[in-house]
């Protein structure tokens, strides 16, 4: 690179309106791409943040979610007796029989109502999760009381402490708000297993059983033991694998985001090409002069290509700045497996920002190559005659 970069930078500054408009076009593509990646990343964080590495989720064979699964109560007794299961301080196995269903609540985004996961579980089930009480109190056994996750409390006006919500056979009083951190638990409503299963006429079965192993070796053994046990007609999946599979909920949005970013990128790529062609035309005399001073065709090509890349780098930074405030946004997405809304926060991290920036650079290089080639190929004499 023989021609100083100051030449390109100052030329970009001289035509600042054109530079800014072109950069803005690319920046929007970058922002959309970074937002799409941030969305999927946020969703993945929520799902992976839910999983405990030593816990197995037991579902009916053939079921792909808790909602579509039925595990009989007698199977729960067999599971509790399996060797390799971790135990609590009282010596009881860490196993939780859980019932999962959905309730419909009007939300901030959707006044007509959105499905929320309702989970019926025991005190052991709560102990097996990383959740803490942030307001009110825990539900009491034998009462029509529920807890709501923090995201539910924020996003659903009717889900405040003291309010009553309707699902199953009647109303339930909200008595507390729990924080599940960056996990799907914060998007759920929890109540007592017996109370909720009675409301849904499921006293003799649950949707799933959560089982904790003592260590990773026991986890594998336990998993095989469950799947080989013909009495159970069930399979076990690690919590991590189960929630990993649910990140597919974000796949259509990710595809849509990338698709829109690419379509916009094609448009802004053409805008870059157009801007750079105009620059080449306007600076014909300068190109001729540089050639006379001894700069080769290659130097001219590199210089104009560098200018296009500098323009897109500026756009890349602008796009990242546009996307970054989304990190403060919490939104919800309908899960295709639980048929309920899962709240999550955009996570536009370094990887998403670098991907967006690299996307801009590639766009600048592709958009600038033809004009740079045209600049390099100008005949000296005809270039000098240009005004």
């Amino acid at each position: 690179m023989k021609i100083p970069l100051a030449y390109n930078l100052r030329n970009l500054a001289v035509r600042k309106t054109t530079t800014l408009m072109t950069a803005l076009g690319i920046a929007l593509s970058v922002a959309i791409l970074a937002a799409s990646l941030g969305l999927v990343n946020g969703l993945k964080t929520v799902f992976t943040g839910t999983a405990h590495p030593l816990q197995l989720l037991v579902l009916r064979k053939g079921a792909n979610s808790e909602l579509g699964s039925t595990v009989p109560t007698d199977a729960f007794a067999i599971l509790r007796a399996k060797s390799g299961a971790a135990r609590d301080s009282a010596g009881e196995p860490l196993a939780s029989q859980e019932l999962v269903n959905v309730a419909n609540l009007p939300s901030v985004d959707n006044p007509k109502g959105m499905n929320i996961t309702v989970r019926g579980l025991s005190a052991t089930g709560i102990e097996m999760r990383s959740v803490r009480l942030v307001a009110g109190r825990w539900f009491q056994t034998g009462q029509r009381e529920v807890m709501v996750g923090q995201a539910v409390a924020k996003r659903y006006p009717s889900a405040r402490i003291g309010n009553r919500i309707r699902f199953g056979k009647g109303d339930w009083e909200i008595v507390g708000v729990m924080d599940g951190g960056q996990s799907v638990l914060t998007s759920e409503i929890w109540g007592n297993f017996d109370q909720i299963s009675a409301d849904y006429n499921r006293q003799d079965s649950s949707s799933s059983v959560l089982l904790r192993a003592t260590d990773p070796v026991a986890l594998d053994a336990l998993k095989h033991s469950i799947e080989d046990d013909r009495r159970l007609n069930a399979f076990a999946i690690t919590e991590k694998d189960y929630y990993d599979s649910q990140t597919s909920s974000g796949a259509p949005l990710e595809f849509l985001g990338i698709f829109v970013a690419v379509i916009m990128a094609i448009g802004s790529g053409f805008a870059t090409t157009n801007t750079m062609y105009a620059a080449v035309t306007r600076r014909g005399k300068e190109i001729g002069t540089l050639r006379i001073l001894g700069f080769s065709e290659g130097s001219i090509l590199l210089s104009f290509l560098a200018e296009s890349v500098l323009l897109s780098a500026l756009a890349g930074i602008l796009g990242c700045l546009l996307a970054m405030p989304l990190n403060l946004v919490t939104t919800g997405i309908g899960s295709m497996t639980s048929f309920s809304e899962i709240a999550f926060r955009f996570r536009i991290g370094l990887t998403a920002l670098l991907s967006g920036f690299a996307f801009a650079i590639v766009l600048g290089a592709l958009g600038g190559i033809l004009p740079a080639r045209a600049a390099a190929r100008k005949e000296i004499l005809s270039a000098l005659r240009e005004s």
Binding site: K2, I3, P4, A6, Y7, R10, N11, A13, V14, K285, E286, G288, T289, L290, R291, I292, L293, G294, F295, S296, E297, G298, S299, I380, L381, L384
Partner: protein
Amino acid sequence: MDIVIETKKLSKEYVRDENRVTALKNVDFRVPRGDFLALMGPSGSGKSTLLHLIAAMDRPSSGEVLVLGQELRSLRSRELARWRNAHIGFIFQSFNLIPVLTALENVMLPLKLTALSVKQQSEHATTALQLVELGDRLHHFPRQLSGGQEQRVAIARAIVTDPDFILADEPTGNLDAASANEVLTLLAALNEEHGKTVVMVTHDLHAAHFASTIRHLEKGALLPQGQVPQDWVAAAMTVPVHSRFVGGSEMTAR
């Protein structure tokens, strides 16, 4: 005698609007080292074409141009660019400074192709600008300079690589009389005091007065040394008396 530029039967034809136009025909001439040659002639006489062929900015239709004993047509584009940087200093009528670069940066440009460090480039460029008496304008942009100052920056840029010869295409064409005199005096000083070979294209009799040799072109042909085009004699009568005496023969006026 050390010959810097030599042309042999040099011709150039263009096709313009399906008509064949002869810009130069069978031009034979030599420029010895240390000469200050003024190429004169009316518009369309072929003087700029000759300059462009010497600088290998254009290709001849026939004949040869030998510069420093080398036929430039044999060089590839990249080699030619390097050659121009090392051997030619070019001065344009409209200065052709890069508007977004300061005077110092403009003069440093040709040095970017050398092995000098940035500090050395800056030192060389500063010296060249001081030589053209613009040492106090190093960080001015072209728009902040007068026409005469711009052309002096262009001269500094042309000499900063210490080229073998300087090609000047109507260097005073865009200047007022006072600035033109400054520029011409500077070119003459470069020739006399620094031994630079200068080939200047001009149609200005006053500018030619600063050269040590004048050659005339008429309709693409180089007139024999000392010969002047007929219509130019009539035109010369209209210029001020102090300039008129220089027209009739090969110049050794200074």
